[in-house]
């Protein structure tokens, strides 16, 4: 197990290194001079040359890459042209908001999609199954930003159940300083009003973000459960008199959960991608809004930083899913690999 963890950690490092180099190269290839963009069209060419020298853009490519990578190793992502602050500081400030949003979304996805998928499988070809099918189809086919706007309009603007934008009501007066996650910090400080308000703000963006994944994972859970239901051990467990509830949740779901969990791991990547739009619609002060602004400004250091962070998210999430699968399914752990 420890060997496995070390090996996975080593792969993780290599993937991130590869990602860093790749994104650096892409950033250098795209046309347009960052210095020119930063200074605006009125700047003289001397000023541009000066800034290029300051940014290190006149150095040969491999020197730039080396400077960049050694900076990266020390946690230095360079300076943002947009905010004139170190990119690292910007990311650290914006990350918790996105992290909280994505985490809440994943919790929402797991707690809705898997039980609904199980329900659809247990009552397959009944009205329950048909209803979940309709829900999942709507979830999958509606683009996140459309859903976001509809939710904002109906649930927030007309009905007033939820706040329209933002992360927390300015009137609450609380700053999350410990972890940056409002729910966690609110709980730590015993401020339940903060937690409640944070959840109210989180709710609509999370649903907009989660909808597609919920639909997809629900269907996959249903299919996996139906496949498992036809296996011999299910019939055997029933014949030995194990109650139906235990057969469904302990015996069937543990085997069937492999496919939906794998998909949830991949879902993480698209969550960050979709968060760009949803954060924009809900004015969520997260890393995705930051990413959008920096891309439009061709603020290369910041863009690279944002891409790296979402890369770390993705790789770590998949590592966790793999570990979870190892716990769920001993065959992942026990398999010795043979090759010729």
């Amino acid at each position: 197990m420890i060997v496995y963890l070390c090996r996975r950690a080593a792969t993780l490092f290599l993937v991130l290194l590869g990602l860093a180099i790749l994104i650096f190269i892409i950033a250098r290839i795209v046309p347009g001079d960052p210095a020119r963009i930063a200074l605006g069209p009125l700047a003289t060419s001397e000023q541009v040359t000066e800034l290029r020298a300051e940014m290190g853009l006149d150095e040969p490519f491999h020197v730039q890459l080396w400077t960049y990578l050694s900076g990266l190793a020390q946690g230095d992502l360079g300076k943002s042209l947009l905010t004139s602050r170190p990119v690292m500081d910007d990311i650290v400030a914006a990350l918790p908001a996105t992290f909280e949003l994505v985490l809440f979304t994943i919790v929402l996805q797991v707690s809705l999609s898997i039980p609904l998928g199980v329900l659809a499988a247990v009552y397959r070809n009944t009205w329950v199954d048909n209803l979940t099918r309709v829900i999942s189809l709507i979830g999958v086919v509606t683009p996140g930003f459309v859903l976001a706007i509809i939710l904002q309009l109906v649930a927030a603007h007309y009905l007033g159940f939820f706040p329209v934008t933002g992360r927390i009501d300015p009137g609450v007066g609380f700053s999350a300083d410990v972890t940056g996650l409002l729910i966690v910090d609110g709980l730590l400080a015993g401020r339940f009003d903060v937690v409640g308000d944070a959840v109210r703000h989180l709710f609509l963006p999370s649903i907009a973000l989660a909808a597609a994944g919920i639909g997809q994972v629900m269907r996959i859970t249903r299919t996996a459960m139906i496949e498992v239901a036809s296996r011999d051990f299910v019939e055997a467990s029933r014949a030995y008199g194990i109650p139906e509830r235990v057969v469904t949740f302990r015996y069937m779901l543990r085997v069937a959960a492999v496919a939906p969990l794998t998909i949830l791991g991949l879902e993480f990547a698209s969550l960050i991608g979709n968060a760009f739009i949803v954060e924009f619609v809900f004015s969520w002060p997260g890393i995705a809004s930051y990413g959008v602004r920096t891309i439009l400004q061709k603020d290369l250091n910041a863009v690279i930083g944002v891409v790296l962070v979402s890369g770390v998210f993705f790789v770590v999430a998949n590592l966790m899913i793999d570990l979870l699968l190892g716990i769920l399914d001993p065959r992942h752990r026990l398999r010795t690999r043979r090759s010729s």
């Binding site: 011999d232 051990f233 055997a236 014949a239 030995y240 008199g241 235990v246 543990r254 001993p330 043979r338």
Partner: protein, 565 residues
């Protein structure tokens, strides 16, 4: 004797998509206290539906009980309320399913699964036992099935046990709540013949020791002869014959029963068909071939172990031979086939096909035209989403057949395997098992190969279907002067199908020669152990089986109570 289970005039139908079909027709049967009863029938005959109805796991709908009754120990099972019905599950009636791998949940430990069975039956019966008491009970039950290392078994996951051990644990599962009626669905048929032999003996002992009644559901007549006091024969949902074991085996009355008996390949006696063939023109020469697999583990994925699948094998197959490679699972027979087909390279040694080295010859168009394979399970070797005609056309396209002549060739191939031309437009799921295997054979023949590797081509088929496929293979061999390499664990079939046989044990060929020599005068203890374990259908055959002493047997057979991994 008192009657424990009494099924009377049972009719069951299935409804799906607005169609209704009756699958059991007026089935009546009984099992007395302490009696061993067998229900024989081919796949689709209604055996499994009968079993599920007795246990109460038949899904309803789509299943529906149309009439009839099932009495168990004086209670009418079909009239009981669900709670009372559930109370009998595992405690009154219990089952042992066919496949010991599939019958366990792969992700829970054996101990967890066994404990659940006891715990929930305790809850239903209003008893309470502590976890430690329950564990003692589990270990005690495992000892009944001759598994001494109870604690280690309980901590294992199903994949860590050998097939024989899993089967034993499965029997222990069924015995946990001391049922009175044990229903066994094809016990041991998924196992090697020597292991199956042990399991059947164990079941017989347990029936006597525990005072169980046994209802055995099987298609294997040899097993029935070993295991039953009384027999029911089922055909298409109807009981067509019943009687004591001796009556059924000595004087079968119903034509269907007789047909079943005749289709079983005899091991000894005058019914045996000996295939002879003389040729000295070698087509496959296997010269000192060894194949190692490496086990990798650790941080750097270094080779940490070596597993020798095929060890220094030297064999020659002559033109026109039907060469049998016999062996149990893990003996290396499939690896050997893959080496011959050039799908793997040997670690040492050389394989020549008609004088050309497979190492360089494999992968060329000529090679593919020379040798082809028919796999064990036509259900998975055919592409489910392609029509039969398209599947037959694939190899033709790859070997450069003209596009315009392909349809004609396809119907020619269907003709060859005795299928109507119209089947070209059908999909595999529309065909029966035997028809699918015919398509697979036609596909292998499409490029006019000279050598066919047959990997257990009939083991997924019923015995009646097996007989027709074997006849087809004989005919094709004569017509096209083919050479067969036949890989199988079914020695009775081999006796009647092959002219030469090699027996493999743990990667080595322990004995090889003409069929008559191997079967009539087996030299190696392993060959004798294999032959003596085959369930046969007459006393004469039993008497002619070679004898093997306990010590010899123990020496050559991998002990099936050892923990793997």
């Amino acid at each position: 004797m008192t009657t424990l289970l009494d099924i009377n005039d049972l009719c069951i139908g299935f409804s799906a998509y607005g169609q209704h079909r009756r699958v059991l027709h007026n089935v009546s049967m009984y099992v007395d206290q302490g009696e061993r009863v067998s229900l024989i029938g081919q796949s689709g005959s209604g055996k499994t539906v009968t079993m599920r109805t007795i246990i109460g796991t038949l899904p309803m709908p789509p299943g529906r009980i149309e009439q009839g009754s099932i009495q168990y120990d004086g209670q009418s099972l079909l009239d009981l309320n669900p709670q009372a019905r559930n109370r009998l599950k595992g405690t009154g009636i219990s089952i042992v399913l066919q496949d010991p791998m599939l019958s366990f949940n792969p992700v829970l430990t054996i101990g967890r699964q066994m404990d659940d069975v006891v715990r929930y039956s305790d809850i239903r019966l209003g008893q309470s036992r502590s976890k430690a008491e329950r564990q003692l009970h589990l270990i005690e039950t495992l000892r009944k099935v001759r598994l001494e290392e109870g604690k280690r078994v309980l901590d294992s996951y199903p994949i860590m046990l050998s097939g024989g051990m899993r089967q034993r644990v499965l029997i222990a599962m069924a015995l946990l709540n001391k049922p009175r009626l044990l229903i066994a669905d094809e016990p041991g048929t998924a196992l090697d013949v020597t292991t199956q032999d042990d399991i059947l003996a164990l079941l017989n002992t347990l029936v006597a020791e525990e005072g169980l009644s046994l209802l055995l559901i099987t298609h294997n007549l040899g097993v029935v002869r070993k295991m039953a006091d009384r027999v029911y024969v089922m055909e298409r949902g109807r009981i067509v014959e019943e009687g004591s074991r001796d009556a059924i085996f000595d004087a079968p009355q119903h034509p269907y029963t007789r047909k079943l008996m005749d289709a079983v390949p005899p091991l000894y006696g005058e019914k045996v068909r000996t295939v002879t063939h003389d040729s000295t023109k070698p087509v496959v020469e296997i010269k000192g071939v060894t194949k190692d697999f490496e086990t990798r583990s650790g941080l750097l994925n270094r080779t940490t172990g070596r597993f020798r699948a095929v060890s220094n094998v030297a064999l020659t197959v002559d033109q026109g031979d039907i060469f049998g490679v016999a062996g149990e699972s893990g003996s290396g027979k499939t690896t050997l086939a893959k080496l011959i087909l050039g799908l793997m390279q040997p670690t040492r040694g050389q394989i020549m096909l008609e004088g050309r080295d497979v190492a360089t010859f494999a992968g060329t168009r000529d090679f593919r035209k020379m040798i082809q394979i028919v796999y064990q399970n036509p259900g998975s070797s055919l592409n489910p989403r392609r029509a039969v005609g398209d599947q037959l056309a694939v190899p033709l396209t790859f070997t450069g057949e003209d596009k315009h002549t392909i349809p004609g060739r396809v119907s020619g191939l269907l003709d060859l395997v005795e299928l109507p031309k119209s089947y070209a437009s059908m999909y595999p799921h529309e065909l029966s098992g035997g028809q699918k295997q015919r398509v697979a054979i036609a596909r292998a023949l499409s490029v006019n190969p000279r050598i066919l590797v047959l990997d257990e081509p009939t083991s997924a088929l019923d015995v009646l279907v097996q007989a027709t496929v074997v006849d087809l293979l004989h005919r094709l061999r004569r017509e096209f002067d083919l050479t067969y390499i036949f890989i199988s664990h079914d020695l009775s079939l081999m006796r009647n199908f092959c002219n030469r046989v090699a027996v493999m044990l743990r990667g080595e060929v322990v004995e090889a020669g003409p069929v008559t020599q191997i079967f009539d005068e087996p030299q190696h203890a392993y060959t004798r152990a294999l032959l003596s374990a085959i369930p046969v259908i007459s006393d004469e055959e039993d008497a002619q089986k070679p004898k093997v002493s306990k010590e010899e047997r123990a020496e050559v057979l991998a002990t099936n109570t050892a923990l793997e991994g």
